[in-house]
């Protein structure tokens, strides 16, 4: 058991697991919990819980607002978290806006664009974000609803048109399926698919977007938690990710935007802390990132996310990635052996991360999931907020297993056994 847990990647998973209190619990009739749903939300190590609690028991105050000592300390902790998270993704602290989740981050960009499209009262600097009929927004067919619906709505608000790259049979963005044009204003895509596990050809997508002067928006929800990501090197204009998928708290996420863009962009949410001057007749706004952080923010959650980033950095993201690839290998190798199982997504380790989705002939994903749950295995079943992608593959629902640093190969190997049991239970053979 210990040998199988200490991987060639050098991750001491047994030690890591000790940091995660929830992993010791049992489910259903006393089965040890096997948590294979980290793609939906990850679990939190003690270090993150402790950091948040220490903040709340010692330094809690409204940040950027008070002149007393607690307020100073709270502000320092909050900004220190921003700085460490920025380092983690290769960005400048001023390029990071704290949001409640990646969904808000993407909506922020979409709303800033429709706000820009109503030109009244705005300066010329926001013109580059304005959209109108004839303009195009490009996404892909594999997007999570969070990186699709906000763009559909932006199109509704501005009269722009949504277009998309389709997806190949093996779960890749089909670069031949669409030509960008001078009217393409935004190209938004997931770094790593939350269903297929496939990693997008970021460099090529960015190159094409730049060639037509389009802004790029990277949905980094499934990349930043699982692999080394340097947003500056990727050269995207915006990126969004959520704390809860990277061992951090829920209720906090990050929108990254290149300084020059954040400086030119009008605000989204308005209220306290994001203003420069307020009169009844009208207001002016603070520089970024404050301009985009209206109201009392998710203070302790930012501190918790800072601790999560410290935790991941101490392990090393290269090792996290190698560990997950090892798990994907175990999943693919063992599931491939089960009759009737079809992997949805790349059946290789190339340009791939840790989300393994599949269907089982003759047993609905929901029923497979129930049998797995009965054995203590927590997976996700359904369309995983990527309904168009499922429709593309002609299926309503898949079973998805997803991992993080605390997942062991032995746990992953139980998947195939569970699927066999489901087939038996439903009399398929």
């Amino acid at each position: 058991m210990t040998t199988i847990q200490t991987l060639p990647t050098g991750l001491d998973v047994a030690a890591i697991r000790d940091d995660f209190p929830i992993l010791t619990r049992t489910v259903r009739e006393g089965r040890p919990l096997v948590y294979l749903d980290s793609g939906a939300t990850s679990q939190r190590p003690r270090q993150v819980l402790d950091a948040e609690r220490a903040f709340l028991e010692q330094h809690n105050a409204a940040v950027h607002r008070g002149a007393h000592q607690l307020a100073e300390e709270a502000t320092d902790d909050y900004e220190s978290a921003r700085a460490r998270i920025a380092t983690f993704v290769g960005a400048d602290p001023a390029e990071l806006v704290f949001v409640k989740n990646a969904t808000e981050g993407i909506n922020l960009v979409a709303y800033a664009m429709s706000n820009s499209s109503i030109r009244t009262g705005l300066g010329p600097e926001s013109e580059r974000f304005a959209l109108g009929p004839g303009d195009e927004i490009v996404v892909t067919e594999l997007e999570h609803h969070a990186n699709l619906v906000p763009w559909q709505e932006l199109c509704r608000r501005t009269g722009a048109t949504l277009r998309w790259y389709s997806v190949t049979e093996d779960g890749r963005i089909d670069l031949d399926s669409l030509e960008l044009s001078e009217r393409t204003k935004v190209v938004a895509f997931a770094h790593q698919s939350n269903v297929l596990g496939s990693i997008a050809p970021v460099e090529e997508l960015v190159r094409r977007a730049k060639a037509v002067g389009a802004l790029t928006v990277l949905d980094a929800c499934q990349s930043v938690p699982h692999m080394p990501v340097n947003l500056t090197a990727l050269d995207v204009d915006f990126a969004a990710f959520s704390g809860h998928k990277m061992l951090g708290p829920s209720g906090v996420g990050v929108l990254y935007g290149r300084t020059e863009l954040l400086e030119a962009m009008p605000p989204f949410l308005t209220g306290g802390s994001m203003i420069e001057l307020v009169r009844m007749e009208g207001s002016s706004y603070a520089p970024p990132p404050q301009r985009f952080e209206a109201g009392v923010p998710m203070t302790s959650q930012a501190v918790g996310l800072g601790a999560a980033v410290d935790y991941l950095s101490a392990i090393g993201m290269e090792r996290v990635q190698a560990h997950e690839l090892e798990l994907v290998k175990v999943a693919l190798d063992t599931l491939r052996e089960v009759p009737g199982v079809r992997i949805i997504g790349p059946d290789s380790l190339e340009d791939r991360g840790g989300a393994v989705s599949f269907v089982v002939d003759g047993v609905h994903a929901h029923d497979v999931g129930q049998v797995l749950d009965d054995r203590g295995l927590a997976v996700r079943v359904g369309h995983h907020c990527a309904w168009p992608l499922h429709r593309r593959f002609g299926i309503a629902a898949t079973v998805r297993a997803s991992f993080h640093v605390y997942t062991t190969p032995a746990e992953v190997a139980q998947l195939a056994d569970g699927v066999r049991a489901a087939r038996d239970f439903f009399g398929v053979s």
């Binding site: 609905h364 929901h366 369309h383 499922h390 309503a396 629902a397 239970f425 439903f426």
Partner: protein, 160 residues
């Protein structure tokens, strides 16, 4: 083992050979319902008698899990031949049980094979599966009645 509590033999039987499966003619209304969490779909047709007070036939095409398929099958058994009023009473009873978190003791006289779904009630995420067909049925009957009411209004209008 808990699994058998949810997937009682009756449910598995209905799942393997569902009653009312396959869309049939004639029908008065057709509805299409979806479970947004998992993408499961049911298309359901209902035929009432001329008075609109009795359920003469139900047929459905269910793309979904064993629970949603078995439930649509049991629905067919329970409502066909009943008055609409009686069918809605059965539905209310089924719904109460399904949403009862396993704490509602179902009445076999009312629910027949439907009592087998008592185990499903302990799994909140599956309750929607068990109710999918029923919601489509309710909606379909409402449509027949709405259409009838409209017809009447039109013919009254014509008379006036």
């Amino acid at each position: 083992m808990k699994l058998e509590q949810m997937y009682q033999e009756i449910i598995l039987d209905h799942y393997r050979s569902p009653h009312g499966a396959g869309l049939r003619e004639p029908f008065d209304a057709e509805t299409h319902h979806i479970n947004p969490t998992c993408g499961d779909e049911v298309t359901l047709r209902v035929k009432l008698d001329d008075s609109g007070e009795k359920v003469e036939g139900v047929s459905h095409e269910t793309l979904g899990c064993s629970i949603s398929q078995a439930s649509a099958s049991v629905l067919t058994d329970l409502v066909v031949g009943q008055t609409v009023e009686e069918a809605f009473r059965i539905m209310a009873s089924f719904q109460e049980m399904a949403q009862g978190r396993g704490k509602v003791v179902p009445d076999e006289d009312v629910l027949g094979d439907g009592v087998a779904f008592a185990g499903v009630a302990k799994y909140p995420a599956r309750v929607k599966c068990a109710l999918l067909g029923w919601m489509a049925f309710k909606d379909a009957v409402a449509r027949v009645h709405d259409a009838a009411a409209q017809d009447e209004a039109t013919s009254k209008g014509a008379q006036a």
